[in-house]
Amino acid sequence: MTARKTKKRKSTRSSPRTKKTTAAPRKRATAKSMAAQQREISVSEFFTKNRHLLGFDSPTKALLTTIKEAVDNSLDACEEAGILPDLVVEIEAVAEGRFRIIVTDNGPGIVKKQVPKIFGKLLYGSKFHRLRQSRGQQGIGISAAGMYGQLTTGKPIVIESRVSRRYPAHRYELVIDTLRNQPVIKKEAEVEWEAAHGTRVMIELEGTYKRGRHGVGTYLRQTALANPHVQITFVGPNEEEPEVYQRASKELPVEALEIKPHPYGVEVGLLMRMLKETKARRLRSFFQTEFSRVGPTVATRIVEGAGMNVTTSPRRVSTDRAEQLVAQIRETRIPAPPTNCLSPIGEERILASLKEQLEANYFAALSRPPAVYRGNPFQIEVGVAFGGEMPADELVSLYRFANRVPLLYQQGACALTKSVLSTNWKAYGLQQSRGALPTGPMILMVHIASVWVPFTSESKEAVAGYDEILRELRLALQGVGRKLGTHIRKDRKRLDAERKHAYIEKYIPHIGIALKEILDLSDRQEKKVVTTLSGTLARSRKM
């Protein structure tokens, strides 16, 4: 999506000409009449008409998406600043069907002049232009949430932020000019703020608060699960006890480094834009500087292979030529991109997190080594919590995560789900109907970390199924499945032995009674028979 878009209107109704000739049949629009209709529209306006694309299609989802965007932003900011995130999420019921969302973090804060831009302008952010693993990608989220609130309640979005002890905290009330994609500050004031730094976002909106699978609690718990270094306090609207999702690890995730795009992921349009924007003056240096894993040899091979000169100026490459370059890139062997741009959760921390957040008696985790799809590094991680009080006769709960963000909607359309379905869980001791999730007392978490997670839509709810991703998912699920299978088998053996023991114990006394009756044993002798026999059987049990 680009910041500005034009949109055609095909309506003939409002054309002045057709109005005059009402008797005549519908007239075709002319270029001139159409030009009168064509005008620039703002992204904000675009959003108001396409809110479903961004996750605001239902009142329930709107509320959840708003929280999600605020939480994502807070976490990304904290991590970037090297702070262990401590979040408070509050939902206040303002009126029937109307809530105030308040998300407070202990992050670095936002400098005064950036505040309106970040929260009031769509597509402003630090993330879109970089290839680096982060929660948000397009920078559309929090401002869209603010806009949704504004559209449904007319209330401004309120931001409070403090960057340091040396400066006071500021409070801004923003409204967005939906026509111009411009924030308008309605009020600005200094406020009290106890902590040294942090940010608080307040958005009032129309929505529906729900519990359950798509509920806020579920989302926050899953967030805590995928982010062991995070502590979240959740205060619901119904005066419930605050829920605290404890931090399971004091280690911040490894900082993901920013990387340049890998040639394998480039398409003609992107290449054209890069060619226009580069500071390089020759094609060879353009490839060397703008892409990862391209040295002089590879650059030369690409350019010359496409029948061009390495010294040609990037600005003078035509679209046709660019297509040839892209084709040549596909032909050329280029090393895989570096993978230090990824920040996986890690097996140990997945385990710690599962143990902290879930009640179960067996845990397993597996991190695959990084892999690459279309030039984008990615990594698959899987975690399992099994047993305990979870119902054994229901489908397992599948928690999906992309870059540590829980995916709550469109489970069926997601490649992560499909991989779980196509895994043969029967081999690991679970029951599974054809084409369904396995059945058992289990929570399964699947995480994909990538510099660019291929979502199927802008609302970022389902991951697309590239072959390389599906392959890694399969291997990860099989790996963790094997661990689980070993446990289940052992567990079953143990239970079996216990059951057999209990079974034997049930009948041994009868042997005692019978022998007593036949041989006229004393009570003491009878007791001896029972205890001796129990002992003998317990020892001889090779079951």
């Binding site: 034997i504 009948y507 019978a514 022998l515 009756e517 036949i518 026999l533 003998t536 059987l537």
Partner: protein, 395 residues
């Protein structure tokens, strides 16, 4: 308890099941088997073995004679299935602990019965087990099986263990006086089997002390109550000088023992008249003649080696133009099984031919199919014609 129900045109499978139950019946046997004191001693001996193994911290086990056709051998000279001595060892394990405990408790119960000179029917024994908590039997066949194991273990008849069956032995009509005694006074009772009118004398559970007077020339054992009724109704026994015995399916032990004693006492030939199907041949007739695999240790007393097979034979179907029913899958299976595993059938070429012929024909025939030619065709034609050539009867 399979009883003598009038036979229906199509023999139902459930009837087969009913008959089968009768197999596991009856009878108090000859004086050769151990006395009551002996039984108690054997029970104590077995229990002592188990007890001492337990005290030695070893896994106790008991050895039972295998109760199946695989554990019998046919002795033509003796005329019955003799037990071969194959044993199954029941060692105390997870799988056997319940039956093991039940067997011991059944033995204890039996000892109590014998010592107090009491008896319990098989069904009563089943109900007594309801006091055994987890070791109780959930169905009577389970308790019957354990009882039969104990019976075989000690090589005794179940009556000696204090257990009696509920089913009666069979019905008798014809030229016979049974001499029994009054239960209370010990006075001799003479029961004239010609004087039951349209009814019949019921074979008691214990036949060992009965005496017989008869001037009949043979005994005719009949499978179904329906055919028996017809022959009684028309006093066939008078016309043919014989004694009629209704088997009611597979004959009970008492019935077998009764026929055996009667035949021995008066040197009477025994002819058997059953349905023309594998069940009639290899189950009813064979059990009557040589005994069963199930109670192999008792066959010596519960067999009638002199029995001969009158009909209905596969040949009779064409010979007498009888209406038939197609063989069921279970019939064919039974016939093939008998050809393969039954020592009696395997000994007699004629029986093999008869069964093979039947499988080939693919049909079975009932006794009462003779009614096609007239209700009394069996009396006026079939039996006289058969009796004119008894040498041709199957062995």
């Amino acid at each position: 308890m399979a009883k003598k129900k009038p036979k229906t045109a199509a023999r139902s499978r459930s009837k087969r099941v009913g008959r089968k139950r009768t197999t596991t019946s009856r009878k108090k046997s000859a004086a050769k088997t151990p006395s009551r004191i002996d039984v108690v001693r054997r029970i104590r001996g077995e229990a002592r073995g188990v007890h001492s193994k337990i005290l030695k911290r070893r896994t106790p086990s008991m050895k039972f004679p295998l109760r199946s056709l695989a554990n019998v051998v046919y002795r033509p000279a003796k005329g019955y299935f003799q037990i071969k001595g194959k044993k199954k060892e029941r060692t105390l394990t997870v799988g056997t602990v319940k039956t093991f405990a039940q067997t011991l408790r059944m033995m204890a119960f039996s000892k109590e019965l014998v010592e107090t000179d009491d008896i319990a029917t098989k069904r009563e024994a089943y109900y007594v087990s309801k006091n055994w908590d987890e070791a109780r039997f959930s169905e009577q066949p389970e308790s019957d099986a354990v009882m039969e194991d104990v019976e075989a273990l000690f090589g005794v008849n179940r009556e000696q263990l204090g257990f009696i069956p509920e089913e009666k032995g069979g019905d008798v009509a014809g030229r016979l006086v049974v001499i029994d005694s009054d239960r209370e006074t010990g006075e001799e009772l003479r029961i004239d089997c010609t004087r039951f009118g349209s009814g019949a004398y019921s074979i008691p559970i214990s036949v060992e002390d009965l005496q017989f007077e008869t001037d009949a020339t043979f005994i005719l054992a009949i499978e179904t109550a329906g055919m028996f009724q017809r022959l009684v109704k028309h006093s066939y026994w008078r016309q043919a000088d014989c004694i009629l015995v209704s088997l009611g399916g597979v004959p009970t032990r008492a019935c077998r023992r009764f026929i055996r004693r009667l035949s021995d006492a008066r040197n009477l030939p025994v002819y058997v008249f059953v349905d023309g199907d594998p069940y009639g041949y290899s189950n009813i007739y064979r059990t009557l003649k040589v005994g069963s695999g199930n109670a192999a240790h008792l066959n010596e007393f519960f067999c009638v080696p002199q029995a001969r097979f009158l009909g209905v034979t596969p040949d009779d179907i064409t010979e007498y133009d009888l209406p038939t029913h197609p063989l069921k899958e279970v019939d064919v299976k039974r016939a093939k099984d008998a050809l393969k595993n039954d020592p009696f059938i395997r000994h007699h070429r004629q029986w093999q031919q008869a069964l093979e012929q039947q499988i080939r024909m693919g049909v079975r025939v009932e006794q009462q199919a003779l009614a096609k030619h007239g209700l009394n065709y069996v009396i006026d034609e079939y039996l006289p014609r058969k009796m004119s050539d008894t040498a041709a009867f199957l062995p």
